[in-house]
């Protein structure tokens, strides 16, 4: 009887240990994904195209929908995405200022996560200093490849006004 109780206790202890070990891994994945997004915002604000390059999946299957007319249709393949990132990096520092709000990360499997957030973008015309502001909703799909979270798809859309 005593042996049986001990055995059950050991199983419970082992299960608790497994559960405790798995919890930080999930939390860590969420934190890692959030860090990728936060660093993307920093990279956008500092026109750091090389950082943006490091967090995108360099594949023909990577794709993105942009927030405006020039990026209205699906940009497909890393080469095309890289071109548009590099164009953005050519803008003078401070021309576009990004901030992210209410980010939410859902890890849907051991190697796929989805992040949603709001973006506020303040654009300053370098010549006239005239400013414009836009608000976007953002979804990023990320995949963990060789231990690193990479963006495989992005969808940015202007906040509807009607």
């Amino acid at each position: 009887m005593r042996t049986k109780t001990m055995f059950i206790l050991m199983i419970v202890a082992a299960l608790t240990l497994c559960l405790a070990a798995s919890q930080p891994a999930v939390a860590s994945d969420e934190e890692d994904v959030l860090e990728v997004l936060e660093n993307c915002v920093k990279a956008l604000n500092t026109s750091d195209a090389s950082f943006l390059s490091s967090v995108w999946w360099h594949s023909q299957n990577a794709s993105t929908f942009g927030p405006n007319k020039s990026a209205a249709f699906l940009t497909q393949g890393w080469d095309e995405i890289d071109k548009s990132n590099k164009e953005m990096a050519k803008l003078p520092a401070g021309a576009m200022s990004f901030s992210m709000h209410n980010p939410q990360v859902t890890v849907i499997s051991d190697s796929v996560a989805i992040a949603t957030a709001y973006f506020i973008v303040v654009t300053t015309d370098p010549a006239t200093s005239a400013q414009d502001i836009s608000q976007d909703r953002y979804t990023a799909v990320l995949k963990k490849i060789e231990g690193k979270w990479l963006i495989v798809h992005g969808h940015t859309s202007p906040l509807p006004t009607e």
């Binding site: 929908f65 249709f73 798809h153 906040l159």
Partner: protein, 163 residues
């Protein structure tokens, strides 16, 4: 003897490869059927059908092209309510809708997770005036195979930007 072994391995590999490819093809067909059912449920206000297409979880997220709400989270809490209201207003339609899904693209991230991209194109006809309007919506729909069935776990739908 050696030739026979090599031949057997080759046949087994070809068999495995064709099996995997056909499984993927079948999954892609099921995913496109899900997308087709979404359009059907949306245009006819069929809440019961719509309900079968989503993951009923507090983690499910939906960004719809209109506003408000801005971001819907959770089937019971938000998304289900949204579709219930939509289907109620569709009970007495003022327009008829012909939806199309254009340039479908399915990207598999894992065997059981995929992303659908494409454009939903709607032609709405006013039932009284017969006046027609069109709308193009960009789609990102993340689907996951849960309990053997492909379900929407996250979506972002937005109007095609014109500015």
């Amino acid at each position: 003897m050696r030739k026979l072994t090599v031949l057997s391995i080759c046949v087994a590999l070809v068999f495995c490869l064709s099996f995997t490819t056909s499984a993927m093809a079948s999954d892609e067909e099921e995913i496109l059927q899900l997308q087709s059912n979404f359009l059907k449920a949306n245009s006819t206000g069929d809440y019961a059908l719509m309900s079968t297409l989503y993951w009923h979880s507090p983690k499910t997220i939906s960004i719809t092209p209109g506003s408000p709400p801005l971001i819907l989270q959770g089937w019971d809490e938000s998304i289900g309510q949204y579709w219930k209201m939509s289907s109620a207003s569709a009970a007495e339609p003022t327009t008829t809708t012909s939806p199309l899904f254009i340039q479908p693209k399915v990207t598999f991230l894992k065997d059981d997770v995929a992303v659908i991209n494409g454009y939903e194109y709607f032609v709405e006809t006013d039932t009284k005036t017969k006046e027609q309007t069109t709308a193009t919506i960009r789609i990102t729909r993340i689907v996951q195979k849960i309990g053997g069935k492909w379900l929407i776990v996250n979506e972002h739908a937005s109007m095609l930007p014109t500015e």
